[in-house]
Symmetry: C2
Subunit: 109 residues, 2 copies
DNA sequence: CATCTAGGTAACCTCTGGGTTACGTACTCT
DNA sequence: AGAGTACGTAACCCAGAGGTTACCTAGATG
C-alpha cells in the first residue's frame, strides 16, 4: 500500500535536517516541553515549534498538553518508518544484485 | 570518534531529499550512466550530476569512468552509515528509557 | 483579579538548495 | 579528421525552507 511508502518518505524528509535531528536526540533523554528544547539549541522557540509540528506530521514525535506546557516525546512509529525505508531499500538492492549474479551464471552456462 | 558521526550526518542529509532517494532507488537495479538516470527523472542532466556529486561525498554512491560514460553504482558504506545513525539513535533511546523505568522502580521501592 | 509563564501562529526576511541554460572537454565512431 | 555523444562545471534564477520578531491565548501563581 502506498500509505506506508508515504510515511517512510515523510520520516526520511523530516530526519534529513540537522536541527530536527538535534531535537529528536534531545528527546531521547525523555519528554521535554518546547521551551526546554529551544534552550538547548541555537535557535528561537518559534523555530523549534515549527520543527516540532513537522516532526509530529512525520510521526516522529507526539505531545500531550500537561497543564501549561506541551510535553513532546519520541514516537516509535516514525522511526520504524525510517528504518523501514532503509531496510526495504537495501533488501531490494541485495535481491536484485543476487538475481543479476544468477543471470550472469545463466548466461555463461 | 567524531569522524563516524560526521559520515552519518552526511548520509542522513543526503538521503533527506526525494530526488536523491529516487536516484539511489534507480541504482538498485545496477550501475547506470548519468544520462540514463536523468532520462528516468523529471529534471535535467546537470541537476542529476549535482545530486550525484553530493551522494558521492556522502559515500552513498561511487563511479568509475567507463570509456565515455561515468557509471554510478551504490556504495554500501554510506547506507551502513545511515543505518548506523538510526540504530545508535534508537539503542540509546531505549537504553535511557530502560534506565528511567529502573529509576522509577527504585524510587517506589 | 493581576501578573507571569508557556507556547502557538502570523507576518516577514534572507539565503541557499535545487533547478536551468550555456559552454568546454574528452571520448567514440565512421 | 570530423561529427556525434556523455559528462562536468560555471553562471544564473527563484521558490521555499528555516529563521526572526511581534502578538495572542491559555494556564499557573501570588
Amino acid at each position: 500500500m502506498a500509505a506506508a511508502e508515504k510515511r517512510r518518505e515523510l520520516a526520511m524528509d523530516a530526519l534529513g535536517n540537522p536541527m530536527r535531528r538535534r531535537i529528536v536526540k534531545l528527546l531521547r533523554a525523555g519528554p521535554l516541553p518546547v521551551g526546554s528544547i529551544a534552550a538547548e539549541l541555537p535557535v528561537s522557540r518559534p523555530a523549534v515549534s515549527k520543527h516540532l509540528r513537522l516532526l509530529e506530521r512525520a510521526e516522529l514525535v507526539t505531545f500531550d498538553k500537561h497543564g501549561n506546557r506541551n510535553l513532546f516525546r519520541l514516537n516509535p512509529s516514525g522511526f520504524d518508518a525510517a528504518r523501514g525505508w532503509l531496510e526495504e531499500f537495501w533488501d531490494e538492492a541485495l535481491a536484485r544484485f543476487a538475481r543479476a549474479v544468477e543471470d550472469e551464471l545463466e548466461g555463461k552456462r
